[in-house]
Each structure stands twice: as C-alpha cells, then as structure tokens.
Point group: C2
Chain length 190, copies 2
Amino acid sequence: MEILKKMILEHGTVRGNNIVMVDSFLNHKLDISLLNEIGKEFYERFKHKNINKILTIEASGIAIAAITAQYFNVDVVFAKKTISTNLDDNTYESKVYSFTKNETYTVRVAKKFLDKEDKILIIDDFLANGKALEGLIDIIDQANAKIEGIGIVIEKGFQDGGKLIRDRGFNLESLVIIDDIKSNKVVFRN
Amino acid sequence: MEILKKMILEHGTVRGNNIVMVDSFLNHKLDISLLNEIGKEFYERFKHKNINKILTIEASGIAIAAITAQYFNVDVVFAKKTISTNLDDNTYESKVYSFTKNETYTVRVAKKFLDKEDKILIIDDFLANGKALEGLIDIIDQANAKIEGIGIVIEKGFQDGGKLIRDRGFNLESLVIIDDIKSNKVVFRN
C-alpha cells in the first residue's frame, strides 16, 4: 500500500533496530484520512469473504477497526486488557505474553458478543511476535466462531509472528511488511 | 438524541444505583451505525466552532472520536493511560483519580501533538465525576491550546462532573443526560 509506505518513510521514526514509531498518524495521533484509505484497502482485500463482525484489541486497534467497519457495514468488538465496570463477568479469556513489557496480561471478550455463527475479520495495527493475535485467535476458537481473515496494518517481517500465523493456514493480509531496519532506515518487502 | 435514548432503554442494562452498561453498542461491542449518528450529532452541535483537532482518552473514547472526526475533517489525538514503546518521552501529563477503581492514574499526551494554535473538541463516552475530563482539560491548558467544546455521549446528571465543568464556563454538550436510576430504570433529563 504505497500511501502507507510513504507515510512511514516521511513521518515514521526508527528507534534502535526494532521499533518504528508511527505515533504521528496511526497509534497516538490518528490521521483519519489515512485510516479511511486503510479501511478501503482492507475492504478490497476481504470483500469476497462473508464477514459479519470485526474483532480488534484495545487500544491501538480500535480506531482502525471502527473506520474499517464502515466499509463492511458490520459491528466491531474490541478485546479488553483490563477489567472494568463496563465489562461483563462472563468472558472468554486468553493470556498474552508481551516481549516489550516482559509481562503476561489477559485479554477478555464478553461471551455474549461472540457467537458460533460469527464470521470474523481480525484487525490490528502491528504484527511482530504475534502473541496478541494468537490471544484473539484463541478467544475466537473458544467461541467456536470462524476466522475469515486477519488484516494487519504494519507487519514486522523480521519477527516471526507473520510466518507462524500463515503456517497455521490463516488468510493474513498485511498492508505493508517491514523486512529490516538498517541504519535507521525502514526496508519494505516488495 | 432520541435514537441514543432508545438504544440505552432497549440494550443498556442497569447495575445497582449507579452503573448503566452500554457494552453492547458503545464501549465493548461497537454499533458503527449508531457511532455515525453520534458523530453527525456532535458535528451539528459544534460545526460553528473552528475546530482543528479532536482529543479523547483511551480506550472507550477512541472509536467515537475517530468516527466523529470524519464529519469535522480533522485528526484525533487520544490520551494514553499507560506508558508504552509507541509513546514519545516528552509528554504532557495529568493525574486522574478513578472513583470506580479507587486509584490514581496518569494520562499522557506527547507534547508534539498539541500546539498553542490548536482549537480542540474533547470527546468522551461518559461523564460522571468529571475527573478524566479534568485531566484532559489540564493537559490542553499546559499546551496553551484552546478548548472549543466538549462532547459527551452519556452524562450522569446525578453526579457532579457536568455541573463542575459547566460552572467553569466550558461549552459542554451531552447527547443524553441520565438524571436518575430508579428501580433498575434509567430516567433521562428532558
């Protein structure tokens, strides 16, 4: 997705050998015009699937999922990372290990919002080690719902999450794949 | 906003004397058609203001702010409740006390995303005691930016946040105000 590559090259910043900061348009300040282009692109890639719900995870996935959902004309459910008064007690849960924080957290979705008839598109901003994504897949499996596709905005191709997910047979589409970060420069996969 | 009152009456659930669960359409599962109506309504109420940015707070405010921003043709910044690798080190910060969790947390916005020229619309899902909102106002004040308006989806009129904010002279618009919860029934302000 050329406009996204352009945004990453022009407005992304590299930290070390691993982190690409896209806080100026994707996960802190949100460029809504870009999110609309991202939503259209996900629709183009998954419109042939019979999707009735989008699942994402708080917080960075929410805006992308909500904007994308407009093109599919479906609702969104976002998995929660903390217990709060507005979360039902009856939840599907999965443990997720975070490499960046070196800790395990629990993601939760109220059982009433996932149904075995659901045909789900998972949406998230980043795919690196794939741990958060595996948590969402686990939750959907617990609900006996179907995963029709997985849409990722930025995949870090030099980490193994993408390979692991594709090897399991999932229809994973990443809008851009970063294969390397060299001398503070992002190298995209063609 | 009649469609919102209808959704709360038909799909909201009351917990005790204080909590209205709207997790089936506003803050866990997201009814995107309703969010579009909410966005249009915020636009009608604030379109005469010269707004160039929407500020909200993770996680429940994000989807509402992102959908609403499409009608204003502006970008969104969401305040963060946790430090993460995708947060710049140089931030405005404010302490927020949570009555429901009985703890104080810190909200943060990267300084580079707030400017003294900004004319800001604050958007959030709920207003009760107003502590989170006061944190956002404090952060905007630190940036010397201007608050053009505050748009809240559901105000709990039986708690004092709305009065405190209006007494400070802010242009606060709540799409519905709940004045009481009696015998498990929501009573709206006319």
